[in-house]
Symmetry: C2
Subunit: 369 residues, 2 copies
């Protein structure tokens, strides 16, 4: 299996590393743009590649429903399907089954659910999730987990966590040629998280993820759980905080020793006209941009900021033009990738703490809307 | 004024020419992609430029309503606004006022109408249309015309045509630094078209357009009117058939001596999943494409056909992905531009007649859906 992780440097708890895959090397800490249905929403694969991400995420749940994992296998896998030659990580489908689908029946064997698209009945188990991810042909697959929603009583979260751990063993038992990451659960309960990270950490995974955060819990609880869990994770494997988050969250995660992130925030916000800049978030529909000829973010060198003005971006958004989503997505994804590049440089030069403070004070200085 | 037209070669009635503008030279016959609100729907300006059009069309009606001609003038004109350095032609707003807006009051002075966006009241006259087009900063402006819908009695079409001719004189009287084209009207009545082309042709326009076709009349009547009108137009000025049409219409137009075309068909069809190929039109949502790994059109070298499969295009379309519109628009616009390139080559080598027959027989050979 063409997968390895090397730790290059540390700065406090922040880690600078390198993941090698059959589809290229990934510099960490890394942000993975989300390409739900084998498409980072708003971008062609060529536009995405121009922004330079070294890995993207695909959703098992969406692809198994449409066009189906067998179809993608027949077409040569997701890389060929979307003409993407860098690395791909797929989630296990667990989170989407519990957040998107309806009429779920969770048994020890797996989960029965109905498609949110057409109501058709489907079944996911550790074995079938791993098989689907093998059919997709991804570089990194995730173990199948149950992702309990926030607010459940502790004993239910505990039972769910224990099943996730049993499912992790079953996922490992059927793994393919891809790398396989385990997922730590346990809600916001410190002792459950500790037990989960110990049990998952004792298994032969290639990396480990913190799942079950950003599911409705208060921001403080998310941070505390992440900060408690990260240092307990194996030092010699990549640590992945799933589904998180804002630029500040990424900085907090890196500070706690996280190596990998994914989130729909940059792409979804782009489509809603909320754009990240070095001076904070802005809503591009604000009337003050009507005749503003400046680039969206003068400190950004993305294809959007180097070609069109705030006034044009506002005009496209107000007109509902498709190009609004495209230009905005190009910028927001660039912003996240640039932030990670700067973070990696800061760690390498032992200046991450100062970088983080500077970034947050600049980011909070703007007219946040 | 940086505008000139030169006729390079003729092949039967088909003309091979060259228009020079301050924003580059345009090889004719030419198809102008429609960038209604200063955006060719689905494409960033960089994506559009990659496809190589030498001129695009903007809609005066849409831009005067949003963001407003003064706003665009303040921002340095449409070229700078959308970061487009090739030529731009704007229509006069006449057609949209009569097809999109509500509560119109047509007087000799001009037209009162209400915006289709917010119902606000506006007024367009020959003078204000030309002023708006000057504010947009286009290379070629169109005289303000009344575009009667199909089916009106002849005397009404005649009165309308006479007013369009008076409006043409008023448009000329206030022209700016841009080139200005006159528009021939007269519905599908041969004697009215003849009168109109004589009167407009006697005025000092830089080019002449056939307006008022593709407005609901039978295809035969459109072709007959075009074929009757084109040869009466001045030989030494560009001839522009407005709002037309299908690939077959373009070939018919060129055969009759037309030099310029525009139409929303390639872009609108792209968004609806109807794609033009060398073997005819296809609907990309057809189930037979589900596992079809071939390029959409093996004879096409556009960024879509050289990067992704029919199966991927179908998948994106069925998922409602933004990228579906983008990939499809790239292809359809490329198809139209490639067709015009091939037409120009055929004229230059005196083989247009054979080319036209070959193209139409190939285009009709596919599974038209």
């Amino acid at each position: 299996m063409a997968f390895s992780f090397g730790l290059l440097h540390t700065d406090g708890d922040a880690r600078r590393g390198e993941i090698k895959t059959a589809h290229g090397t990934i510099q960490t800490p890394v942000f993975m743009p989300v390409g739900t249905a084998a498409s980072v929403k708003g971008l062609t694969t060529a536009q995405l590649a121009q922004l330079g991400p070294e890995i993207i995420l695909n959703n098992t749940y969406h692809l198994m429903l449409r066009p189906g994992a067998e179809t993608i296998e027949k077409l040569g896998g997701v890389h060929r399907f979307m003409n993407w030659d860098r690395a791909v990580l797929s989630d296990s489908g667990g989170f989407q089954v519990f957040s998107l689908s309806s009429i779920r029946k969770v048994r020890e064997e797996g989960v029965e659910f109905r498609s949110h698209i057409d109501g058709s009945a489907h079944f996911l188990s550790p074995e079938s999730s791993i098989e689907i991810q093998r059919q997709l042909g991804v570089d990194i697959a995730m173990a199948f987990d149950e992702c309990p929603s926030h607010g459940l009583p502790k004993d239910e979260v505990e039972k769910s966590m224990e099943m996730t751990n049993r499912w992790a063993k079953r996922s490992l038992a059927v793994r393919g040629e891809h790398a396989l990451f385990g997922i730590v659960q346990g809600g916001i309960f410190p002792d459950l998280r500790k037990r989960s990270v110990e049990e998952i950490g004792s298994m032969d995974f290639d990396g480990m993820a913190i799942g079950g955060l950003s599911v409705g819990e208060p921001k403080e609880a998310m941070l505390e759980t992440m900060q408690l869990t990260a240092p307990l994770m194996p030092v010699d494997k990549p640590r992945y905080l799933m589904g998180v988050g804002t630029p500040a969250d990424l900085l907090d995660g890196v500070a706690a020793g996280i190596d990998m992130f994914d989130c729909v925030m940059p792409t979804r916000n782009a489509r809603n006209g909320t754009l990240f800049t070095s001076e904070g978030k802005v809503s591009i529909k604000n009337a003050r941009f009507t005749t503003d000829d400046r680039p969206l973010d003068p400190n950004c060198s993305c294809p959007t900021c180097t070609s069109v003005s705030r006034a044009y971006l506002r005009h496209l958004f107000m007109n509902g033009e498709i190009a609004a989503s495209v230009y905005n997505t190009i910028h927001n994804v660039s912003f996240y990738l640039d932030l990670m590049r700067a973070i990696r440089q800061a760690i390498a030069s032992n200046s991450f703490k100062g970088f983080r403070e500077d970034f947050l004070s600049r980011f909070a200085s703007g007219k946040n809307e």
